[in-house]
Every structure is written in C-alpha cells, then in structure tokens.
C-alpha cells in the first residue's frame, strides 16, 4: 500500500546543479522566491523563462519532471486565475454579463499571477529535485548556525530533522506490516462511508504510536551508548566545501536577478506596488 512512496523527489543524476553546494542552492532559491515578485512585465517573465529553462537544462532533470510539480497547485492556480479575471475592474471592458465583467487588465493580471505561481513552484522543485533531503538538512543547520548565539537549538533541530528523515522508511514499513496484520484479522479499510473508513484507521494508528514510542526509547539507548551528550564539543563528519560551480551558478543567477531588481526600481516606486495585494 505504501511501498511506492519515496521520500522527497530527488532526481538522481550527476550534473552541474546537483554538484553545487546545498547551502548556496538554498540561498539562491530564496533569492529566486523574492525576485519573482519583482517581475511585473511580460518582458520580465520572458527573461525569467530563459533563466529557468537554462537552469533546468543544466541540471539534466527532464523538463517533464519539473512541470509535473505544478500538479499539486493546479486547483489553486485555476482558482486565483478566475478570481483575478473577475475581480479586476480596470482597463477596457471586453465582455460583460450580469455581474460578470471581464476587462483586459484583468486578463493580463491573471496571466501574470499564474505565471508567477507556476514559476515559483517550478523553481523551488528544481531545488528539491537536485538536492537530497539529507543535504538540505545539513544546509539548513549550517545556515541557521548564527542563531545559536541567541541560544536557538540549531544542532538539536537539525538532529531532529535528520532522525525524522532516517526513520521515515522504517515507519512506512511498520505501517504496512500493521495494515496487513489487521487485514489478516478481518479489518476492512476499503468499504463504507468516509466516517467508517476513518474509524477503520484507528487500529492502525494505535499500534503504530505504541511502536514508535518503543523505537524512540531504543534509539535513545543507542544514542546514549554512542556517547551522545548534546552539541557540546561535537565535531562534524560532513565537510561542506564551496567550488567553482557555486561561484559560476551564483553569478549566473545574480545577473538575472540584479537586472530584475534594477528594472523594478526604475519603472515603479514603492508607493504603487498594487500587485502585492495579499
């Protein structure tokens, strides 16, 4: 039942983007997320398209896999498009019936919004497609490190994330086992109304919860036995090293995004940023 769930969506090939440092990729993804909201014209989106396509091409991830990631937000996309089309009351009236009026500005606005959301998801999934969950965890730990000065438990947070990742496969296996055991005793998960089906999952969740606690206790014993005493005087096995790829990759993205910010600064002032409606 749960066999085919793989964690994350990492696409295992060896490419320029795959080999870039996870920390740099994470920072660049954040820059991308911010930058995308500063693109206001279709010309800007054309530039963004060039950037995104180049990045996808260099990453050797098939374009299809990247586009597939939009599936998850399809409903949201259509919903925002419809809302924007009907609620923008500017420009020339193109079509009207009863209370529904479509203006040309509304169409443009909806198109930009859809592009923005689509590129947002495509860009971020390029990060998860080219970076393993483990690498991302390490990157987050390393980037959050300055926060440990204000007593923020960076190391503990990273350890929790990495433990969670390493326990997902065994928990999936365990769930699978419990489901089969309950089915063998005549449990029925596939018929009945929604209420009944939800109720049928209780005999799965309770054994799973109990066994998770047992696992947690054993894990604590195992960690204690291996001299774990928190973050004091721990060393790090993983060495994160920046290479020329990180410099080239960052430079490439910076060229595009500095241009985007410059254009934005020239054509508009902060006062009339109307698109930032949420």
């Amino acid at each position: 039942m749960f066999r085919d769930i793989t964690f994350g969506q990492y696409y295992p090939v060896d490419s320029f983007v795959h080999r870039m440092d996870a920390r740099i990729k994470l920072l660049l993804a954040i820059l991308y997320l911010v930058g995308i909201f500063f693109v206001t014209s279709f010309v800007g989106f054309a530039w963004l398209t060039i950037f995104l396509l180049t990045a996808i091409f260099v990453s050797k991830v098939p374009l299809k896999s990247v586009i597939k990631s939009i599936k998850g937000i399809l409903v949201l996309l259509i919903f925002t498009a419809i809302l924007n089309v009907f609620f923008t009351q500017e420009g020339n009236l193109l079509w009207g019936w009863w209370i529904f009026n479509i203006y040309d500005e509304g169409l443009k606005f909806a198109a930009k919004m859809m592009l923005r959301l689509t590129y947002l998801v495509m860009g971020t999934s390029l990060l998860t497609l080219t970076t393993t969950a483990v690498d991302l965890t390490h990157a987050i730990e390393s980037l959050l490190k300055p926060l440990s000065f204000i007593k923020f438990p960076v190391h503990e947070l990273a350890l929790i994330m990495s433990l969670t990742l390493s326990f997902i496969p065994s928990l999936i296996e365990e769930t699978d086992r419990i489901i089969r055991a309950q089915k063998a005793r005549g449990a029925d998960f596939d018929t009945g109304g929604l209420g009944q089906r939800v109720k049928a999952f209780v005999p799965i969740l309770i054994p799973l919860l109990v066994s998770s606690f047992r696992r947690a206790e054993e894990l604590a014993f195992a960690m204690n036995s291996r001299c774990y005493e928190g973050s004091t005087k721990r060393t790090q096995f993983r060495v994160q090293k920046l290479t020329w790829r990180d410099a080239v990759g960052s430079l490439f993205q910076l060229i595009f995004f500095v241009a985007i910010f410059l254009v934005f600064a020239m054509q508009t002032t902060w006062a009339n940023v109307t698109w930032l409606y949420f």
Partner: protein
C-alpha cells in the same frame, strides 16, 4: 585484568498495576561477575532471564539499585564517569533499524566519533577503518534501509567500533536476524576479538552461538546459574533445560558419539559434523 566488575548488582523493574499498587519484576538479582579483558563471553538465558537488563548495566544505561558496576575502575553510579565509560564500552542492540541516526551509512557510523569530538582527518579515517573492519566499506555512501538485517547490524557494530571501545556488548544483536545474518555478525564479533583483542560480551538465547566463546554464563530469573567453558555448560543438560534452554541437536549428537568412543568435536554446524562422521566411517 578485569574490564568490568559487577558486585552484587541488582536491578528491578517497577510495575504499576491497574489497581494503583506497585510491584517489582526481577531484572538482575544480586549478580557478581567479572568480565576479563580480551575474553569472549557469552551470556545465555531464556526470555526474561535478565540478560538484557544486565547488558544495560554494563555502560550505565541502567544504574544498579543495589551493589555496584565498576568499568575499568570507574563506578557507573557516578554520572561524571559515564562519558568515559561509554567510550570504553560499545553496545549494539537488537533492532538494527532503531539504532540508525542518519540516513547515509558513513554518517551514521560517524555519529559516535563526532560525539567524542574527534576532528578531521582522524574522523574520516576512523569511519573508514570501522566500516572496513566489518566488511561494509563499499556501502559507505548508501542508505541503510536497503540493506539486509545482517548488513545493517554490521553497520551498527561499525558505529560502536568507530569510537574504539575496549569492550563490545552485543545485546541480542542476532535475535532478529536470519541464519545468514547471524553468521555474519558472529564472524565479525569473533574477528574483533581475535584480531584486535577486543573484549566481546555476546548476549543471546541461541545456544548454537555459545560454542565459539571462551566462557559462558547462563542466567535464569535474574541470577547466574552456571559459568564455564562451552563444553562444561553443554554437559549440564538438566540445568540448561531447567533454565529453558536446549542443547543444539548437532552438539547433542556429537556428545553422544563421544560418549560411545568416537573422536568427534562439538560443533553446531550440521555440515561439518557430517563431514567429521564421514571421515571416521
């Protein structure tokens, strides 16, 4: 020299009954045992005989309620000693899945070494050495959940080994494995004992695993009921049966053959016993 000394160590489990009262279940009851440096000690016992509880006393995971446990001259009751004690007593548990802290094998093995504050390049060297010692170096960059049980348990041993302990405790580490996996883990334990002179404490309920050890300790209801070489233990069949243990059939056959004057050796391996018999015929 003694690596670990248990003196009248007692550890009982508190049980909270449904009616609000408390009672105790025996874990380890007044056990005195010296574990010598460099020996291969096997601790056998039926379920609930207290062997796992005893294991957890050895590195201070549990503290004795009465008596004491002294590891290389350090008392486990003193919390300041625990770090040093755990550096010297490595432990591997029953379920390999519950001991993995990282989702990449070499990072999991590195966990203990990171904890004791070893910097690079020693850190990488130790990880490599530990994986090599258990024959898992080619899996260093893979994820553990795709390995077989025996391989996972070897990775867990490497994780303990990388800290370079003097004593390795295998707390029912073979209990969940198939015969092949058990063989792998035992071979690694034997190798560590022979090549590096590491003290190995093997805890098991499989009597076949007793054979290769220097000394066997049989436990029942928290108490030690017999100590001796494997041969001496196998001869006390009545006592073993009382403790809920059974002499493996091959060894029983070998012993009966010996009694009737055949020159065979004790072995748990049916194939090698067969070969020995064939040679004699």
């Amino acid at each position: 020299m003694d690596a670990i000394k248990l003196q009248n160590a007692t550890y009982n489990y508190k049980i909270f009954n449904d009616d609000g009262t408390q009672s105790y279940a025996v874990g380890v009851d007044d056990v005195t045992l010296d574990i010598k440096q460099g020996e291969f000690l096997t601790l056998v016992g039926h379920n609930g005989s207290g062997k796992s509880t005893l294991a957890k006393l050895l590195n201070g995971l549990f503290l004795p309620q009465k008596g004491s446990v002294i590891v290389f001259g350090m008392d486990t009751a003193n919390e300041k000693n625990l770090f040093e004690i755990r550096k010297n007593v490595g432990m591997v548990f029953q379920n390999p899945d519950n001991q993995m802290v990282a989702s990449i094998i070499e990072e999991d093995v590195a966990f203990g070494v990171e904890n004791i504050g070893i910097p690079h390049p020693d850190l990488a060297e130790r990880v490599h050495w530990a994986l090599e010692s258990v024959g898992m170096e080619q899996f260093a960059k893979r994820t553990p959940h795709k390995l077989s049980g025996g391989q996972k348990q070897r990775v867990a041993i490497a994780g303990a080994l990388a800290i370079k302990p003097q004593v390795l405790v295998l707390d029912e580490s073979t209990a969940m494995l198939d015969p092949q996996g058990r063989k792998e883990v035992l071979a690694v334990a034997k190798k560590l004992n022979k090549e590096f002179g590491m003290t190995v404490v093997l805890i098991t309920h499989f009597m076949e695993e007793v054979l290769q050890s220097d000394r066997v300790v049989v436990m029942q209801r928290g108490k030690i009921i017999a100590t001796g070489t494997p041969q001496e233990i196998f001869e006390q069949r009545a006592l073993l049966e009382k403790a809920g243990l059974k002499v493996p059939r091959t060894i029983e056959l070998a012993q009966k053959l010996k009694e009737s004057g055949w020159a065979v050796e004790d072995t748990a391996d049916a194939k090698s016993l067969g070969e020995m018999i064939c040679r004699l015929l």
